[in-house]
């Protein structure tokens, strides 16, 4: 029996603009977007089309002007900024283009940050962080600082950090753009595995066509709106055309 597919993120008619008067820029123009649990969902499109803004409002890191956002069954519209921060801390993991690891902390300490923010004790957090580093193939790098690692290794540390508190939603901003092809594929293998975990989904904003083949769904954006959403056979054809 096939299990029921639950929506993980639902964005309805969201608008977001920056600035005012003549310098006002509308980044999202009544955008609709959705993704389901168990999915690895890519958001693609040219620079300035609103991908990162969409990612930011879904993560609750940016206030939006109008529309409804529901993430993992919780309507973000009804939450206060403090509640959104707490929700983000519990349920969302982040992977950034520039890794955003704290250079003065060791890899273990970097990975333990989300656990500590969720109330874990230091010893327990560092133990789990070390296990996660082993999971991403960096068991011997725990005491090293991020600046002592290669770009691919830093991104793996960032993945371990994003997964450390077992979030249900992983939000990734250009996770492979700073990496070579081989390392990019290693990173995508890890993210793909993470997306298949029960009750979890991964949203990736990317310009990198090398990773299209990992997607369960691709949303293309243009001028603050969804241009098209691809899955199934059309997605396979789209991926083929970009090989």
């Amino acid at each position: 029996m096939k299990s029921e597919i639950k929506p993980a993120v639902t964005v309805s008619g969201v608008t977001k603009s920056f600035g005012s008067g003549d310098s006002r820029t509308v980044a999202l123009k009544g955008t609709d977007f959705g993704t389901d649990e168990g999915e690895l969902h890519l958001v693609v499109g040219p620079s300035g089309c609103g991908k990162t803004t969409l990612l930011s409002v879904v993560a609750g890191t940016l206030k939006w002007d109008a529309g409804d956002i529901e993430v993992l069954g919780t309507k973000l519209n009804g939450l206060s900024p403090a509640e959104i921060t707490a929700f983000r801390g519990r349920h969302i993991g982040f992977i950034f283009q520039q890794f955003n690891l704290i250079p003065t902390l060791s890899c273990v300490e970097n990975v333990s940050v989300p656990l500590l923010l969720n109330g874990a004790k230091r010893a327990a957090a560092e133990k789990k962080a070390a296990e996660l580093l082993a999971l991403v193939g960096l068991a011997d790098k725990g005491r090293k600082r991020p600046t002592e690692l290669s770009g691919g290794q830093q991104q793996r540390v960032a993945i371990a950090r994003a997964l450390s508190h077992e979030p249900r939603l992983l939000i990734c901003d250009e996770p492979t753009s700073a990496l070579d092809s081989e390392t990019g594929h290693q990173i995508m293998d890890l993210l793909s595995t993470a997306a298949r975990s029960p009750g979890r989904c991964v949203i990736i904003v990317t310009h990198d066509p090398r990773i299209y083949g990992y997607a369960d769904r691709i949303t293309a954006m243009e001028d603050g709106r969804l241009k098209h959403v691809l899955s199934g056979d059309p997605l396979k054809q789209f991926v083929q055309s970009h090989r």
Binding site: S56, A59, T61, L62, Q97, N100, E109, V113, L117, D173
Partner: protein
């Protein structure tokens, strides 16, 4: 999270050293200058502690303890006749030239004590016998006197040695320990009559009167009665000390110059620490934004910044005060410059450092509070 905040602070070595260095310098400047100022103020009243008289009677226009305006000899009896006064004795004080063994002239503070009672005697005799002062041409000198008047001698001046005061012989019969006088001259104690022999003749030679209240009468009450009945100014020792310190505050540039340095220390602390900590926050803004995105509340980040600022402040304060104390230990045996480190000074510096750290942290907290976590998604 707080151990990570400290690692973030200390991991940025250059900023951390700059921050702690600024706070150390600020704490050092504020504490050391206050200690030297307090020491200087203590010198202004050392005369009172060296004589240890309960009542000081001076001419009506005398403003502070180190000023002398002569009285009439008969004023001693007038004071003695005031009800509530147990006894009153004359005293001479004046700055005279003494000739050292090598022929050089040294300024000395001559104190002429009442011959019968030797009231106002130095607090501690190190050698010799004070009673010998009743013999002619005899003096008791303090340790600074030994140092200054030994010029040209193979060994320091001691008991039985002689020197000249105003071309008159002075034979050392005792060495005493005193607190250094505000003017920096050594003390030379002699009898009142002998002091009049040493001093150049003037119409009035009595410098001041030392007195003591009768049992059952407080010094303050006796002083009030003396002032009322004689027209002279009578002070208790404490009152005279307060009047003297107040005079120094009002009439000299000493407090202002020290206050300026102390305020500069505070400003340097605010400027260096504020600027350094703010630039530390700016450089870490992306990481703080990432923490905010990962669920750290503004309050959590504010506490991290406060911890970082106050840790630097605590270390800087400790080092600044430590260096000040080391400076004190180094200079106290020599007595120069004056140095009095009071608990109140340490508390004042601690409060100033807390204000500096709070200000520095506040600049960062303001920035972090306005920080949108979405900043981490911008290239």
């Amino acid at each position: 999270m707080f151990h990570l905040a400290l690692k973030m602070l200390m991991g940025d070595r250059a900023k951390y050293i700059m921050l702690v260095g600024g706070l150390t310098f600020s704490a050092l400047l504020m504490t050391q200058q206050t200690a030297v100022f307090q020491g200087l103020l203590s010198w202004t009243t050392s005369h009172l502690r060296n004589m240890r008289a309960p009542l000081w009677v001076v001419e009506a226009h005398v403003d502070y303890a180190n000023e002398t305006k002569p009285l009439r000899d008969t004023d001693v009896n007038r004071v003695r006749s005031v009800k509530g006064v147990d006894f009153a004795v004359p005293m001479y004080q004046g700055i005279l030239k003494a000739r050292a063994f090598d022929g050089s002239d040294k300024q000395v503070m001559i104190i002429g004590l009442h011959g019968a009672t030797l009231f106002g005697r130095p607090p501690q005799m190190l050698a010799g016998n004070l009673e010998t002062l009743r013999l002619p041409n005899t003096v008791v000198i303090d340790e600074l006197g030994v140092q200054r008047l030994s010029a040209g001698r193979k060994k320091p001046i001691g008991l039985g040695d002689t020197f000249e005061i105003n071309d008159r012989e002075a034979r050392v019969v005792g060495i005493c320990r005193t607190e250094r006088h505000f003017f920096g001259y050594p003390y030379v104690f002699t009898s009142y009559d002998q002091a009049l022999q040493y001093a150049p003749r003037q119409r009035k030679m009595l410098s001041l009167i030392l007195a003591s209240p009768r049992p059952g009468v407080t010094p303050a009450e006796a002083a009030r009665r003396i002032s009322a009945e004689t027209g002279l100014k009578a002070y208790t020792s404490d009152e005279f000390a307060k009047v003297t310190v107040a005079y120094i505050w009002k009439n000299t540039g000493i407090p202002m110059s020290f206050m300026t340095t102390i305020i500069l220390g505070f400003i340097v602390g605010v400027a260096v620490s504020g600027q350094t900590f703010y630039s530390f926050v700016l450089e870490n803004l992306r990481h703080l934004g990432a923490l905010k995105a990962m669920g750290a509340s503004t309050w959590t980040l504010a506490r991290m910044l406060l911890l970082q600022a106050f840790t630097a402040g605590f270390i800087g304060y400790g080092m600044g005060v430590g260096i000040t104390a080391a400076f004190g230990f180094a200079v106290l045996p020599g007595g120069q410059p004056p140095f009095v480190l009071e608990a109140a000074s340490l508390i004042r510096t601690a409060v100033a450092i807390v204000i500096i750290c709070f200000f520095a942290a506040l600049l960062g907290i303001r920035k972090v509070a306005k920080l949108e976590p979405a900043v981490v998604f911008r290239g």
